[in-house]
Symmetry: C2
């Protein structure tokens, strides 16, 4: 069994060894190398490998589909950054800023193609099931991004709509990573389902945690200025929950702040006012509670796994997930 | 054995029966339905089905991967039209004009995901080989588009570079369609290779024919104004061949015309002048000859197929290819 640091090293080594990016034309492949070279926690492939070794299998079996998920994830970031006009990611210029939008579109497409090819390097016995999981998560991520874009112009977004959006945009990829790792290990169907459900809850918790961190993170560690979601009028958990709970006058004020563009002049006042309204509605506390609840629900799916699973590998998965959510376990 | 009209009907029926586009959010899937509903000759899936039935197999075996190729092809059109800022396709507004660029990017991504899923609906015995063929053609098409974009700003494009670009951008998908059909039919490896080589030559011929038709088509049947490639300063076979052959003065004049933007004022004069220079170099005649040569070379690969192939199905494939190139056979 390997611990998460070792698994992450395996992932880095495999990503760096990929031959596909050595091909021509370099204008197509350099942006992929750039995007994949920016680090990140490699959460998705590490989870896939963890799910595989849970069943006592050598995680090397799942290495190619696992890094396929990382390549796929980075492809979605290239395209999302074009659609969202995002200028910075991981503290560096996004691909469409460093090159241009066409490059981000086309290199992204090539990354998607490469991700398919890596996913296909699954042991043949589990290939149809793994491809099915891959295609479901790929469509899910597209659907989530579409809802996210729809929400920009949609005045009212309910909590149910929001949770469905983040399920698709974020959680299905986390859940799919665990599912694919378990499928490669030929785990029993019920275990595959429990791991998927676990990943789904962890993925939702992860996104809500992100919503909370936007205002309450330690700015030095966060690596970017707090309050970005407010400046961009992003309808996150905090906003939607506050709208649900605030009385008419406060709600109108909050809606007003989110209906005007953020400018250098109003930025300070807006952030303080919105944060105050969020706190008046206890939305940040509700958010933290929702994270805890999801985390607890997730745990039940791990407890329900069959006795086939390796206890040490299970503990490693629990510790890694808890670490992602910045929690003691 | 089914003739090409019957095969095309099968393809249309299967495309219309696809459930994936019925899902939510409709904003993601409507553009796919729109793009796929614009008809076209369905060349790629028909060729895949033809390759399958060549070996006496029921073409239904290859139907899902075949329409996967059509969905994939249409995905590339959505993205290409964004990158090329093309406003019209098949006489209708392109997706990014009818909706917007973000929609064309994201719906295109969803179509790619759907294409993977359709390709995966291949009988398991041929699945790894089919996925390998699919991923090679998908990366090839991206590489071809990258070269095509590079050529816009590249002053000198050699004929070898041009032929490699159209091989990647156009021919690998035609060749890959035949390859996939043959793989599904579990054809002998040498036959798969001959069909791939056949498709490659036909694909190249098809693109050169297109270059020629831009100036010499029957405008009524062509459906768009002749000379579009000249107005867009596109370095096609005609341009590159003329540059190769013209003497200094004429070459300089041609290079000059392709270095200036086309305006309503210079359009008429430019088209006539460039056409005259093309003809002075005999580039259109050379182009037609190149098409004939490729078509003849392609034919040799059909003749080399093993006796396993069904003669009637072979004749149908020959007739369909000849029809695509508007030739008597």
């Amino acid at each position: 069994m390997k611990n998460h640091a070792q698994l992450r090293q395996e992932v880095e080594k495999a990503l760096q060894g990929l031959e596909v990016w050595q091909g021509e034309p370099q204008g197509l492949y350099q942006p992929a190398v750039y995007a994949l070279g920016q680090g990140g926690k490699r959460i998705r492939p590490v989870l896939a490998l963890m799910a595989c070794q849970l069943f006592g299998k050598d995680c090397a079996l799942a290495l190619m589909p696992a890094i396929g998920l990382e390549v796929f994830h980075n492809f979605t970031l290239l395209h999302d950054d074009v659609m969202d006009k995002a200028a910075i990611r991981h503290g560096l210029p996004t691909v469409h800023m460093k090159w241009n939008a066409n490059t981000a579109i086309l290199s992204g497409d090539a990354m998607f193609a490469a991700a398919v090819s890596l996913t296909a390097k699954t042991p043949p016995a589990s290939l149809p099931a793994v491809l099915d999981a891959f295609h479901r998560l790929a469509l899910g991520v597209c659907e989530g991004q579409q809802y996210d874009m729809n929400f920009e112009s949609q005045v009212q977004v309910s909590m149910a709509e929001y949770m469905e959006m983040i399920r698709l945009k974020t959680a299905v990829l986390i859940a799919g990573a665990l599912e694919i790792g378990a499928l490669v290990a030929r785990a029993p169907e019920t275990d595959v389902k429990h791991l998927y459900a676990y990943g789904n809850k962890i993925g939702l918790a992860f996104q809500l945690q992100d919503d909370w961190l936007d205002l309450y993170a330690d700015e030095a560690k966060f690596g970017k200025k707090l309050g970005g979601d407010i400046r961009e009028n992003k309808k996150t958990y905090l906003y939607i929950r506050a709208i649900e709970k605030l009385e008419t006058e406060d709600r109108k004020q909050l809606e007003h702040w989110f209906s005007v563009a953020t400018t250098p002049d109003n930025q300070e006042e807006k952030t303080v006012a919105v944060k105050t309204l969020f706190e008046k509605a206890d939305a940040p506390r509700d958010c933290k509670e929702a994270v805890s609840k999801l985390f607890a629900e997730a745990g039940k799916h791990l407890s329900a796994l069959s006795p086939l699973t390796d206890p040490a590998a299970l503990k490693e998965l629990q510790a890694f997930s808890a670490g992602l959510l910045g929690r003691e376990f």
